[in-house]
Symmetry: C2
Subunit: 604 residues, 2 copies
């Protein structure tokens, strides 16, 4: 709920805040550093923070913007508990899928419970309990509430936390057209929310990850501190790097190709030395290059119970295998490099000399002699010809033809994506960028409704499975990214929409006049509906007060200083650092006018 | 944060709510039954509920009232996570004190974590981190946030839950006078909050329980569904029954008393048969009565690790031992009846014939022969003389004189409290009542600050330990009690201050006119700043619509029915059940006027 909070004066002499001179030891990113130093948050455990009064004010404003846009999109607010019975997640298999990232516990009676990382199941069940007809739909319901995920590497302050605030919405429709509309309404709301937060974003195609389902887009905020990589083309294509679809090389006629031949490659366990050996041993007109080689990596696909399946993946020798992209093909299982332990079970795999072929036959592949699943990167075309390891020390082979000599179990997106790779929609070469997910819209389809038997009667009186969408915004992460995007080396610079206060009034200098004038300005600003932070501390120096104001980052600062006695104060724009002398009598009007210009610029 | 939410129209045709005809199977109390049936909450697990849109609206209003009064009392809002490292509770010993009622878990690295049942430690530490001088104090900070307690018997819907919303405030002062003032400010705020919620309350002296500390008062709401018992005197004394202080009988001169004599009491293992046996075996002028006998109970005092200390407690034979009152003397240890296992270690205790004296000497008592701690009820005076068990089958003794023959280890409040018992302040006889705690104010003193080393420099530059108070309100419990106090057999009847909507507009009857009029009334009410629930469902019968309105319990209902075409609608007061015909053109004005009268009556 909420709405704007008007007419507040808080005083720094009593506000529960202390700015810190030192950066927190574990702070890796500016938002973490500044939010702690300026007294917005305090760490309680890795990835777990308390919200001090300043921080809570900003958090409430972010939440209010989200609530307003959810209401505008017709979504209704409700609220689920964070502590839920484990069985809620059992029917959909997610109790397992979430693995170690789910906090688990037992109650005093031994009943298994979890701290909810997300609430698809609970929302599905409540709709099943209350609704029964197509006439009840469409429905979009949401909550803003703390989620729990036991991240392996909580990092970067609020950017990847273990308890964090999220808005999660869920739509329920009777058919695909309805879902598409509900999805679009949330997607539009997200655009408005991020615009109001002043958060730049790119909408990218996304992998579903542990959520399962169909269409999925992420709102990414481009930032160097991001954990995600995404690609963009000049023609408008954008995708999470895990969702980037590479282009398979056109099929090649191999009817005239020579047969496989092995050649000696002593010590050639890297692509560079292999290429040298090939040029030495198997000279040809155009010299061999990395792009002619097929590089094989041995990986383990691990399920939630720790069961490991060893696989071999082949990618072009001039590229690296990208585990994140490969993992997307095996979700919810995880993919990691094979360990020595894994390799012990397959002594036939000779490190540095691995390949799919040996002595006239294909040996890699689920149904082949060695029984090891064999995948090729999706770029590799039919009829393409390769240098590959020959499964013997110091030996490789050439003229290995895909489709003639070997057939992979499947092609998967396995190689890394690089600047210049083609966008799959023909919109030009992509460039890769770092970013962080700030929102996610997702057509779940019927996965959850089927697993939990959410069906309604359609127009013809027939029971049909409901189709769902889920829509998440990381409230506290997005707040941190606003801070990340709006700061300088002296502190935070909040956009008006989420600033903890509208104006920071500073009384500084000798005598009683500056404080009197500051009090008067604060009262006037409050009467004008503004939220005022008043620095009325009697003993702090001007330097300390200005430094704190810069650190705290309220966008507008009014200084009642030594000229206050002459009827003049200073209006300071924290963002541009402009300072203008204004008459005391005009100060609040000048502030309101300047603020209006700034708000309009932000709203454009 | 928040503030009032004005100008809303929600439509029953799309609002996520379904009223239920059947009571939930596990509902013991009216609030639970009605909040579920009317679509405010849904059970997720024992003592764990989800909030549907209607419920969340009421919850937000309760929270807004609390926030407004906290702000008025100068308390600042912040917010701690619910998931905390167990070590937070280690230094104060509460990791143990909370025992099984604390949800415990380990994170993926094996670090012990808990779900916070209350946050004294975390608040103490954050103040220690930020503040260092008496000039920083006083400070009162609070949060409204979900707490977790693994109750042995979650019951009565929201009245005793395992995840529930609480407002917890903590005050920090440099000296006792400051604490007394901070305490009074919160106490005053609590009175205003409960008045605004329309919740009747009694302020009683309270035991501290697991919190430790000094002065403590509970705000109790008298209700038959309450779990607490409290006593009140006509002169204004009020106390939690655990805190009631009984009056010790005046000392008696026993210099002329006869010596102890045993007598035969075969099969007299109850007070009634014992009294009969005494009158048969030891006749005297005034017949023996229950009040002449000393009844002994064997109890086990159990610590968090399950260590059991067996004790014997003596109470007057006409009263029962009250385990709740006895437990208060041993907090945080718990008290229960001794088991057969416990008794095996003490074969000298003969059930039905237990007493402190045997063969010319005292045997019960920490330093006596049997080494079993021995306590007497606080009412029992020095020199009083008793019939008691003689520690042999079929044998009792009389003329046991307290202070001559036996000395207890201590006197404790052990016997039950009854109507007619004297108030300790001389304000007359008490009566006992059932109630539920709706708020708790508590002078913690220096317990937490000492344990966590929260010290500040005082005026003389000396480090002094800070003194603290803690102040809790069970937000969701209090919401349930408002429902408990405001309902009839047809449904809820919300007070204006927390009603989910200000007015429920019903369109009913044939043709388009009723809906048109209802829409018009809703729009007018919205324009007047009211929150409107509009029943625009096209197919429901008038009976269903009226029944739903009564169940949902919005205090004012406007019905646009068959007379709407003639320009007349009905204004229905849900509480008094009065229905008045009003002209459509006057309807919203009439509603506003009637509502004003009701608000004024509530605010008196």
């Amino acid at each position: 709920m909420g709405g704007t909070i008007a007419g507040v004066i808080d005083r720094l002499s009593s506000l529960f805040v202390r700015t810190l001179r030192e950066d927190p030891a574990d702070a890796e990113v500016a938002s973490h550093r500044l939010l702690v130093r300026a007294g917005y948050i305090r760490r309680q455990a890795p990835g777990i923070f308390a919200w001090l009064p300043l921080g809570l004010r900003v958090k409430n404003k972010v939440e209010t913007i989200i609530r307003e846009e959810m209401a505008r999109a017709g979504a209704q607010e409700m609220s689920f508990p964070g502590l839920l019975p484990a069985e809620t997640y059992e029917a959909t298999g997610r109790l397992n899928d979430f693995g170690d990232s789910m906090f688990r516990l037992e109650d005093r009676k031994g009943a298994p419970m979890v701290l909810a990382p997300t609430h698809e199941e609970a929302f599905t069940v409540v709709v099943k309990d209350l609704y029964s007809s197509y006439k009840d739909l469409p429905l979009t319901i949401y909550q803003i509430q703390d989620k729990f995920r036991d991240e392996a590497r909580p990092r970067a302050g609020l950017l990847r936390g273990r308890q964090f605030t999220m808005k999660d919405a869920y739509s329920f429709d009777v058919d695909d057209e309805g879902l598409a509309e509900s999805y679009q309404r949330q997607r539009d709301a997200y655009e408005r929310i991020f615009q109001r937060l002043g958060l730049e974003y790119v909408i990218v195609d996304a992998q579903a990850g542990a959520m399962g389902g169909s269409k999925s887009e992420e709102f990414l905020h481009a930032t160097e501190v991001g954990e995600d990589t995404f690609v963009q083309s000049p023609g408008g294509y954008a995708a999470n790097v895990e969702a980037y679809v590479s282009t398979q090389a056109p099929a090649r006629d191999f009817s005239a190709d020579a047969a496989i031949e092995t050649f000696r490659t002593p010590g050639s366990t890297t692509i560079a030395t292999l290429v040298d050996a090939a040029n030495r041993e198997v000279p040809r007109e155009r010299p061999w290059a990395a792009v002619d080689t097929l590089k094989h990596v041995v990986l383990a696909v691990v399920d939630h119970e720790g069961n490991r399946e060893v696989i071999v993946v082949g990618v072009e020798g001039d590229r690296d295998a990208d585990l994140g992209r490969i993992e997307a093909a095996f979700t919810p299982r995880e993919v990691e490099m094979a360990t020595e332990e894994d390799l012990k079970a397959y002594p036939q795999l000779v490190p540095g000399y691995i390949g799919p072929w040996l002595d006239g036959r294909q040996v890699l592949g689920k149904d082949q002699e060695w029984g090891i699943p064999y995948y090729l990167d999706a770029r590799i075309g039919e009829g393409s010809t390769w240098i590959s390891g020959a499964n013997a020390a110091d030996t490789h082979l050439h003229s290995l033809v895909i489709g003639r000599d070997v057939v992979p179990d499947a092609r998967i997106e396995a190689a890394d994506v690089r600047d210049g790779d083609p966008a799959p929609d023909g919109s030009g070469p992509v460039t890769t960028k770092r970013g962080t997910e700030i929102g996610h819209v997702f057509q779940l389809g019927r996965k959850y409704a089927e697993a939990l038997d959410l069906r309604v009667l359609d127009k013809n009186g027939k029971l049909v499975v409901v189709t769902m969408g889920s829509y998440g915004i990381g409230v506290t992460r997005d707040l941190a990214l606003v801070a990340e995007q709006n700061h300088d080396d002296r502190g935070l610079i909040w956009p008006e929409a989420v600033a903890p206060y509208d104006v920071h009034v500073i009384a500084t200098g000798k005598g009683e006049v500056p404080l009197q004038v500051a009090e008067q300005l604060a009262a006037e600003a409050e009467a004008a509906g503004l939220e005022v932070l008043l620095d009325d501390r009697p003993k702090e120096s001007p330097g300390v007060k200005f430094g704190d104001a810069e650190l705290i980052g309220v966008p507008w600062i009014l200084i009642a200083g030594r000229n206050a006695a002459d009827g003049t104060v200073e209006l300071w724009n924290r963002r541009t650092n402009e300072r203008n002398q204004v008459a005391v009598t005009e100060a609040v009007a000048a502030l309101l006018a300047a603020r209006e210009v700034s708000l309009e610029a932000a709203g454009k």
